[in-house]
Amino acid sequence: MAIVLNTLLIIITALAIPGVINRTRALLAGRKGLPFSQHLRNVNVLLRKGAVYSTTTTALFRIAPAIYLGAAIVATLMMPVADLYPLISFEGDVICFAYTLALARVAIILAAMDTGSSFEGMGASREALYGALIEPALMIGFATLALFCGYTSFADIFEHEQSFDLHLTIVMLLTAFLFVEITFVESGRVPVDDPKTHLELTMIHEVMCLDYSGIDMGMIHIAGWLKTACFAMIAANAVTATCCFHWWCAVPLAILLTGVAIGVVESTQARNKLSRNTTFIVTISALAALIFFIGYLLKLNINI
């Protein structure tokens, strides 16, 4: 029962976040903006359409969206909502989570390269590099959680009722911040990538799906929501774990924390120059290492 609830909640989160982002952007810009569920209607239309495939492509191009979405679904099934229990859970599932998402990335990169378009190659090349550089941040983030909670599985890390502890709170809040930052990168948002840009030369994720249409495009969108929801949920879980909140708290937290954060950043900040992206992402990795080190010192009970 808890597993079904958990899965439902994370799906709700995934569906709600893009809406919250759009509403936040509209509010801050003083526009009327899109309705909350516009993204759902868009995908609904996409899923009912036919498709155009490039003659350059091979069968890989048609399978890739299935791999992309399939991997995102499996990754989502590993994600607990606060103290609920996910479908897939074992010691070290954090590693499996990261590598399943890497599988999704490989699928979409290869699909982009399959079209033989120089624009899509550009996006693929960037995605590959940024994906490589964000990986250490992700892993060290998980290591911080493992160090402090003593578990290597999401469910165990977030499930256990922790008594209020200042050190834990500090580390968990920092980790939550880290995962919000990682969400920006992994879901292709400002300041790393701008999904609303119209110039292919400066795109990253969007340019990789230029040749997709119809159901394939819909699947890619859904996978993107799921990925964002996973990272948002890690951040929210980290907060709920420190303050002994329960699942009913984690879902709105995940939706609002990430949705509003992305919305605010997108309304107030310009995206990075592409050459600055590398620095930005490496900084996140450095930040992750720093948080790990702070956690290590706190764990040793050294006053800093």
């Binding site: 495939y53 010691e91 590598y99 590099l129």
Partner: protein, 663 residues
């Protein structure tokens, strides 16, 4: 007795290979390797099943005293890897060498097959020799055989150079190993591996271990001794690269593991573990970054082998550190990971080199930017290469993920339990970065060769290779998929070996901790495959009633895109190169289009990324000679009076020296 047996077997083999008709030579060699593989697999499987140790044969050696061929779990695991890879390689060689049968002389082909069989047999001897003379003999045989194999295309200048460099470096390593065994002999009076235990208890652990680490590291390709790998692999025929990169360099890993087994003192284990971890991190990162910037398929694969050796050593280092801290949970998991990764790498790397061989035999080049769209012409190769790519990127649901998962889990457990936290975090950071860049390197490799539009007319003329090669490639593929989908059974294979290292601790840890987790990973892998298949089928079903059109790739409003504008391998990895440029030595021909050119004219541009470490080995003594030569040239003034002066000075020196009775 053993040596007579070995000699007669080799003579018989040479006679058989040289006397059979040209087209049957392969089958003779194949039969010999299959026989050897079966002969070694029977005791190996027995040992792995029972966990016991079997003495196959006693040998009396001329120098070091009594020795034996002994099969224990560690040997058994490596023997199986060698046997399987040997059979696949021989099967593959049939198709690959078919095109050379008319070009090369019959003796040349015979020599090649002789060397190939000797390489396989000598590797088997390496892993079952208990030490001393027989081990060094087998080691040297292995080096010579692989040297001959690299020399197959000796008409090409670079092949000759690569082979010589290989021979020289291997012999430096050999000297170090001889020194290692000699120091065992000096301390204990015999030269077996088993006597290392006595040596290590006499307090000279670190120097002797480092001697062995350097000697074996030369073969394994540890940084900075890796420079022979990226030279030798492009030079060698593909099936030779496959067995050298997939298996032969693993004998170096085997040697280090064997020597490590005898270290018991925790403080020494700690130091050694740190050294191994540090070497692994540097080797892995260096290998993967250099791999990502290469524009030659086989060089890229060679660097990726270096990277994988790095990953194995990271696992081994974490295991050793765990053992030093008395934490057998960490030690067992990481060791199982390192061992499993060794097995896995032998599979996917052979497969990748076989794939590279397929495209080389069709297009006669391995330069990435000559390919494009090969998947349409060679679909089977493309599918198998895709499987290997996913496996080497360590992605679920294939075997590469399982090995790296265990190494990661070892590090996370190390962090979680608070032992060696900082070292484990360092290893984790490095492994995560390696894992990320591997994805970049191999998506580059796969997409530039197999995807997109053809960049060269040779691609259009290429055809799928013969079924023997596909069959040879199927052998590692089966292993890749089986280990990936059923890791809970694969772990039993390495459990025995880990058990040999940590006798009491392993079985409960594997039973209670690793195996249940791997069960769930297996379920996750199946779930992943089923979900992907379902999604694909659902999509196809939905699309059946809709209009599906074909058209050109969307050009983003640009009306005349052409094939030359495709992203090349070089442009794909350019962002990475821009941040790692200090690691490589770039030689540029031609000129890139500069930013200030608003209407660019035609440009030729070619860039090569060479390893900076190469200079360390190839160039410094050359430069030294140049400098000395220049100084000496100053003396050659061309004036006869100067020369008479030199002669006089020489006489004076002789006179003075003889005055003091120095000569």
């Amino acid at each position: 007795m053993f040596y007579i047996l070995l000699l007669s077997a080799l003579t018989l083999l040479v006679a058989a290979l040289f006397l059979t008709p040209l087209r049957q030579k392969m089958w003779v060699a194949f039969a010999a390797v299959v026989a050897a593989a079966i002969a070694i697999a029977i005791p190996a499987i027995g040992v792995l099943a029972e966990g016991s140790e079997v003495e196959l044969m006693r040998i009396s050696s001329p120098i070091f005293g009594a020795e034996s061929l002994t099969m224990d779990s560690l040997s058994a695991l490596f023997s199986l890897v060698i046997g399987i890879a040997g059979v696949a390689t021989l099967l593959y060689s049939r198709g690959y060498l078919a095109q050379y049968l008319n070009k090369k002389s019959s003796a040349h082909i015979s020599l090649h097959y002789t060397a190939l069989v000797i390489l396989v047999i000598s590797m088997m001897l390496v892993v079952i020799s208990s030490g001393g003379f027989s081990f060094l003999l087998a080691w040297e045989l292995m080096t010579i055989a692989s040297f001959i194999l690299i020399l197959f295309d000796a008409e090409r200048q670079q092949v000759l150079r690569a082979a010589l460099a290989y021979l020289i470096m291997m012999h430096i390593g050999f000297v170090l190993l001889v020194a290692g065994f000699a120091s065992i002999y000096a301390i204990t009076g015999t030269g077996n591996f088993a006597d290392l235990a006595t040596c290590f208890s006499s307090g000279k652990t670190l120097p002797i271990f480092i001697l062995f680490l350097l000697g074996f590291g030369m073969k394994a390709g540890l940084f900075p001794m890796h420079v022979w790998l990226p030279e030798a692999h492009p030079a060698a025929p593909s099936h030779v690269s496959a067995i050298m990169s997939g298996v032969m360099i693993k004998t170096g890993v085997y040697g280090v593991m064997r020597a490590l087994w005898y270290v018991v003192e925790p403080s020494e284990l700690h130091t050694i573990g740190l050294i191994i971890l540090a070497v692994g991190v540097v080797t892995g990162l260096w290998g993967v970054i250099l791999a990502a910037v290469q524009n030659d398929a086989k060089r890229l694969l060679a660097y990726s082998s270096i990277e994988n050796i790095g990953v194995i050593f990271i696992g081994l280092g974490i295991a050793t550190l765990g053992q030093a801290a008395g934490n057998y949970l960490v030690a067992t998991i990481a060791l199982c990971g390192a061992l499993l990764h060794t097995v896995n790498h032998s599979m996917f790397k052979s497969l990748l080199f076989f794939g590279a061989g397929n495209i080389y035999s069709q297009m006669h080049t391995t330069l990435l930017d000559r390919f494009g769209g090969v998947a349409k012409h060679m679909p089977m190769t493309a599918i198998l290469f895709f499987i290997a790519t996913i496996a080497i990127c360590a992605l679920p649901p294939l075997n590469g993920f399982i090995g790296e998962f265990l190494i990661y889990l070892g590090m996370l457990d190390s962090i979680r339990e608070g032992v060696n936290t900082i070292y484990a975090a360092g290893g984790l950071l490095a492994l995560a970065l390696i894992g990320g860049i591997v994805v970049l390197a191999f998506t580059k490799l796969y997409s530039t060769i197999f995807l997109g539009s053809p960049r060269d007319h040779h691609v259009a003329e290429s055809m799928e290779v013969d079924n023997f090669r596909i069959a040879a490639m199927a052998i590692p593929t089966v292993g890749i998929i089986t280990i990936g989908m059923f890791p809970q059974f694969a772990i039993r294979m390495v459990e025995r070996v880990a058990n040999q290292f940590f006798p009491a601790a392993t079985s409960p840890i594997v039973d209670m901790y690793i195996a249940p987790n791997l069960w769930k990973i297996s379920l996750t892998a199946w779930l992943l495959v089923i979900i992907i298949a379902l999604l694909y089928l659902l999509k196809n079903r939905a699309q059946r009633t809709r209009t599906i059109e074909q058209g050109p790739t969307w050009g983003c409003g640009f009306t005349s895109p052409n094939i030359r504008m495709q992203y090349t391998g070089e442009s794909y990895s350019e962002p990475l190169e821009s941040i790692t440029t200090s690691l490589t030595q770039n030689t540029v021909e031609g000129r890139a289009v500069s930013k200030s050119e608003i209407f660019p004219s035609s440009h030729g541009y070619s860039i090569k990324h060479k390893d900076k470490i190469d200079r360390l080995f190839a160039a410094w003594w050359m430069e030294l000679l140049h400098i000395i030569n220049k100084r000496i040239m100053n003396l050659r003034t061309g004036k006869i009076n100067h020369y008479i002066l030199f002669a006089l000075l020489f006489l004076v020196v002789i006179f003075i020296l003889s005055l003091f009775n120095w000569i």
